[in-house]
Symmetry: C2
């Protein structure tokens, strides 16, 4: 039996990873999974909390997903982001180091570490990280710490930097999930969809492709690996695809109060380093992901 | 009167900065200086401690020097380094943000943010930061946070990245100060100087040139500025200069137990960005600095 500990295991990505591992047979048989999550009273900000779990569970794999991941909150309250994202990662790494565990660790970094408004045509793992948000800074600090820990203490730590991931179960704080929810509501209640500027371009990967990548990534050598897809599209395109899927006519309305200032530059994510090593490519088409997300909200609203 | 708050104000650099400011007349007359230092019960790790001081003192300038700066300790106890260097900086920036103060801030970063064992021929502010030690990571996280705070919240924050600074009053934990102390002891007691490998090349600036640079830097625009000198020399050269200054014959002895593994690569620090903007160049010759350091230990041992 392979033992996998998932921090933030009840979050959006954590739940998908749980389900992926439960449906996958590891090389030593099925996975025994231990969930470490704030919703269950576990807190990575508390060293003893994570240390005790690691000491008792003795994980082969640690998927460290626990994070304060909502960017606007990180700007309002940078301290919470730092405590969770950086101190939380430090606590986890220290717990592994101090207990002498030989767990392989995956730490989920983010494309936000590279920052916005930059002139590069594409972003590889070698691109200079210039985070634009406290969230990005906290994650860059955490992932830089990982590189240092693997070098100094010989711990195997894989860092992934994923671009936006979407799919069923995502919080409606995020644009794509919010749009899907509003389309589901519009179908049911005939509501109008208010939106701001739709020019922002982002790169989207299905969360189920992401968790499959995590499982592959954790067996790689220590290092940083970009995760992304070919789906670099505007928010306009996302909203249009979703409204086209609606079973009723859906009315959208541009509301200037919802406008946010944003950069139109968007360097292409390069994830060939990971792809070449593992053969991984996203399996889900954007259309399928959006439909599954819409169906999720159709059930929920 | 210009009001200057110095965190870590009783440390090696802090004491030199105090003395520099006390002997310099600011544009609005003399400086009123407030010292914030662990030796006086002040702790940047405690938000209320630094917030209260800033709120009450209302500084025009904040020189943020408080740090856990001894690299071997940062490797033994990364948590303390992170709490002091990163959380401490976060607390200071949050205190300024939350009190709405318009203080200009200087945060002392370090060349350790660039890391060792790299192939560059020289290091500018644009070079990729790849810290090799927990100390370097903690400082990189702090200085990246500074860039984010100046961008998001409009706070003026200057980050300096200085290479090794030396001079009278430095802790004998550091090689140059340790050698000077041993030479002073050898002169007095006839002791033999044991040393490890002397091949490590470093760049040295007199601490008095550094604090003069801090005073110039804090009036610049937000950004990162390298501080260094032309003195890139081996530890062998430093020891040899010091023993040549001794008034007695000093015997040195290579001790294999003191050998440490180190990289021989040492990219040249480029500090022309700062030099061009301010006209600053180091005034102290290496010889003068070493003699003053030796004299300091002659008085102390």
């Amino acid at each position: 039996m392979l033992k996998a500990l998932i921090t933030g295991g009840n979050g959006f990505v954590g739940r998908h990873l749980q389900s992926y591992l439960r449906n996958t047979v590891g090389e030593k048989g099925e996975y025994t999974i231990s969930i470490f999550d704030l919703s269950m009273g576990d807190d990575v900000r508390n060293f003893e909390s994570i240390r005790t779990r690691i000491d008792q569970f003795q994980p082969d794999y640690i998927f460290h997903l626990a994070a304060q991941a909502y960017v606007p909150e990180s700007t309002m309250n940078p301290r919470r982001g730092f405590e969770t994202n950086l101190t939380g990662t430090l606590n986890l790494l220290e717990a592994v180091r101090q207990t002498g565990m030989h767990s392989r660790i995956l730490v989920s970094g983010t494309s936000e570490e590279y920052g916005y408004d930059r002139d590069d045509s594409e972003l590889t793992e070698e691109s200079v990280a210039k985070p634009t948000t406290p969230y990005g800074v906290s994650k860059l600090a955490a992932t830089t710490l990982c590189s240092t820990y693997s070098r100094i203490y010989g711990i195997n730590i894989v860092v992934t930097r994923a671009w936006n991931h979407i799919g069923p179960g995502a919080s409606p704080s995020y644009a794509v999930s919010a749009f899907a929810k509003r389309v589901a509501e519009a179908e049911k209640f005939g509501t109008i969809i208010n939106h701001g500027n739709l020019d922002a371009v982002r790169n989207y990967t299905d969360v189920r492709d992401i968790v499959r990548a995590y499982r592959l990534a954790i067996d790689l050598e220590s290092g940083i690996y970009n995760l992304a897809s070919q789906n670099t599209v505007s928010t306009r395109e996302v909203l249009s695809q979703l409204t086209n899927m609606a079973v009723t006519q859906v009315q959208t309305n541009e509301n200037p109060h919802l406008f946010r200032q944003m950069s139109n530059k968007f360097p292409r994510p390069n994830y060939s380093k990971f792809s070449k090593l593992t053969g991984w490519e996203p399996k889900f088409q954007m259309k399928e992901t959006l439909l599954d997300t819409l169906d999720f909200w159709r059930d929920a609203v």
